[in-house]
Amino acid sequence: MTTLSLTVNGEPVRAEIDPRLSLADFLRENLALKGTHLGCEHGACGACTVVVDDMPMRSCITLAASCEGVRVTTVEGFDDDPVVTRLRQAFRDEHALQCGYCTPGMLATARDIVLRHDRPDTEQIRAELAGCICRCTGYRGIVRAIARVIETKSQATAAKAGTT
């Protein structure tokens, strides 16, 4: 067993874990944070994506033991995040989810895309989403939702620039 200390959704967590335990299983089984979903368990579908120290990361191929001292944010921890709040509204408006299984990973990835881009075209957003599989929506709603949030972000930035 290995001792692990880290921060999950703002709370300090300390646990004795099996060295082979993945971060995804640690979140789901040890902490009962069931919002992180497993779609492939080999790092290819993106459903398990969480934010680790501000970077989106696949929790199914991240060993929990490698997360000493990091800050992890899961879908349960985004309620005070202004970008995710806007993404949630945009996902609803653009019908960017159906069965909901890919949604937590999509939100974590979309948040990262919104933070890194100011004026991406559709092609860029599609390319940025290449690591996340959605089997239901055909992606159009997801791409549009991200574009919409970036647009409001850019408008806000432009407005701010205009006043200074």
């Binding site: 099996d18 082979r20 299983d25 789901r28 089984e29 009962a32 944070l33 069931k34 919002g35 992180t36 979903h37 497993l38 779609g39 492939c40 368990e41 080999h42 290819a44 579908c45 459903a47 899961t74 879908v75 349960e76 309620d79 949630r88 996902f91 609803r92 408006d93 019908h95 989810l97 159906q98 069965c99 909901g100 299984y101 890919c102 949604t103 937590p104 939100l107 559709t122 957003i125 599609r126 390319a127 989403l129 290449a130 690591g131 996340c132 599989i133 959605c134 089997r135 239901c136 929506t137 055909g138 992606y139 159009r140 709603g141 997801i142 791409v143």
Partner: protein, 780 residues
Amino acid sequence: MTDTGVGASLPRKEDDRFLHGRGRYLADIEMPRMLDVAFVRSPLAHAEIVGIEKPEEAGERVFTARDMDGVVPIRPTSNVAGHRIVGSPPMAFDRVRFVGEIIATCLAPNRAQAEDLAERVVPDLKELPVVASIDAAMAEGAPLVHADWGTNLSMETRFDSGIEEQVARATVQVTRTLDMARQAMVPLEGKGALAHYDARDGQLVVYSSTQSPHMIRNALCQCLGLQQRQIRVVAPDVGGGFGYKAILHPEEVIVAWLALRLKRPVRWLEDRFEHLTAGANARQHRYRMTAHADDRGRILALDAVLTTDAGAYSIWPHTNGFDAIQASGILTGPYDIGGYRVRTMTVATNKPPLSPYRAVARPGACFAMETLVDAVARAVGRDPVEVRLENLVPAAAMPYKAITGKEYDSGDYPASLRRARAMVDAVSADAGPDRLIGTGYAVYTEHTAVSTATISQIGVQMMPGFEQAAALMQPDGSLEIRVGVQSHGQGMETTLAQIASEVLGIDPQRVSVRHGDTALSPYSTGTYASRAIVMTGGAVAAAADKLAFKLREIAAHMMQCTADDVRLEAGELVGPGASMTIEEAAVIWHFRPFDLPEELLRDGLEVTGGYRPDGDRAPFAYAAHAARVAVDPELGTVEVLDYVAVDDCGTRVNPMIVDGQVLGGVAQGIGTALFEEVPFDDQGQPLATTFGDYSVPAASEIPMIRLDHMETRSPYTRFGVKGVGEGGAIAPPAAVVNAINDALRSTGAELCAVPATPRRVLQAIFDAQDRAAGKKEAAR
């Protein structure tokens, strides 16, 4: 229409929980003392089980078929004469017949430990000869999947309308062989089941990631010898189904049996490796098609042979013959064709059992028919759209009785194609100098909400009948709707509330839709065949009608008029001189019974409504799709530049949700067209076992699909709706391949198989070059 009823693009009621990660899927359910399952699966496609060695100290946590005393293997049934049929055994007894078949079941407190245990179980297998393709299975002297059959031909059907007269008139014959590969369905959440015995209710409770809870209960009762009242099946949130979760899985029988035997909760969660190997069970059709046409490309007769590579066992309930029956019943598609002859062969192979995947056999049938139509157009030197327009059933002919016996209820097929052409032509993409551009079309018609009559003909253990819905008015006038279908992405918690709102004028925010639980809802065969909005939507409306009548009677009594004088308007019961709200009427029944006469009190405000379309006739949805692609003739890669779908599902209850269904279907269809395949080697070994080799399209591969809709109300259904859940997936293989062939026209290449991988595209180009070289050689 009200602004919350039929026709409103209401935001979905289910979104909030999913966007906060608060859905509850099967893997999210935990129970005290629960054990997780890992299976020992066959590494060989065909072998005799000589013995199974269990680790000594853990033997009591490993179970094999020999332990399953009293469990009856599922027995699928069929009315097709001579249909040889064997259901999947829960665990293999003395023989395994495909890679991934279950040999032993291992239990541990968590999955990782169960897998550790499974690694230490050693099956002693004696290899047997394998048939891993249609050709191998049908060869003279082929090894037999089931020795007692004496053949690998599981089912054969023939239909012949008489085609001699049409063939005699035809001046053009075009023949093609068309192949669709084997696929996995890949719902993003794997299959899973968790069973436990509830002593208080005297029930085996089975949580299953299923589309059809009552059907699973039917099956488990057969297998375990229990009465229906003794089993409860609950589908929690289900992360995509696509047909994979509309069948009984042997694993469900095993965990149910283990929970009874051990009196502990037992859970199995399918992982992606299991899904891509043991679950590689969809599509895989081969068509040999001949069109007999005139000089203008008017198709006079179609002569077809369809063979399916159906795997080792029959799934339940649809049987292994479902693909062949569906495809042969719809092969002539949206066309007016006077003569049709078809022979189908369902062939057993050492592969996982063929199962119905979104739109069942129609993507294969549409691919075969629509690529053939393009080949006919090339043969007569005409534009494929013009040839289609000449062959399509015209709007004036509706309702139209097809040569297959099916009745197409309504619509304007040529108009949908004209719209698709206008939309896709409007886009001219810059594909770069080295790529070839092409446009392809496909039109289909789809039998949705399949009828009792259709299913009863084929004799499978799934009888839709009248769909039921319960409407329970609560004491405060809020409403609970209970239905036996299961919503796993279709948004029925929203659309069924909209239908209740349409009838009662009640705010959908005061309506809850409960689904997917045999303990809560009326009986239903479940969610499949694009049936829910037609059948369950109709049933909800019927229940709401009953409730409306009761509410009007209560209001009439209070207002001292007759029920006929009371109208329901926007949630208000309006009489000649007064009005009251639905809530007030509900409160009167529940809390002021002394105000009502006995006959109004006797039957409460909890009602069940039943529905099926008028005369048990199914509505036919249809669409025209157009694809514009760029092909790199050096690399064989294909990019979809533009994709257009013009569909008609009659009245759209929630247009936003309809769009979502079509978009998602098209994306899956593009997967079938270009990427998705589980190839098997000649020893029956699956060659795509991770998402590294099984390519599911991501956003980078799917263009921003563009939609248009026509709305021809079905004359037979409530509100004029037609099903829409599957349709999007039908046409893309045909439209994309027709676009590729259009792009390759200068090379003379013609692709006749999907997925159109770079290897297949290049092979088609090389074949064309060889043909051209051969012709030159011959001319010399």
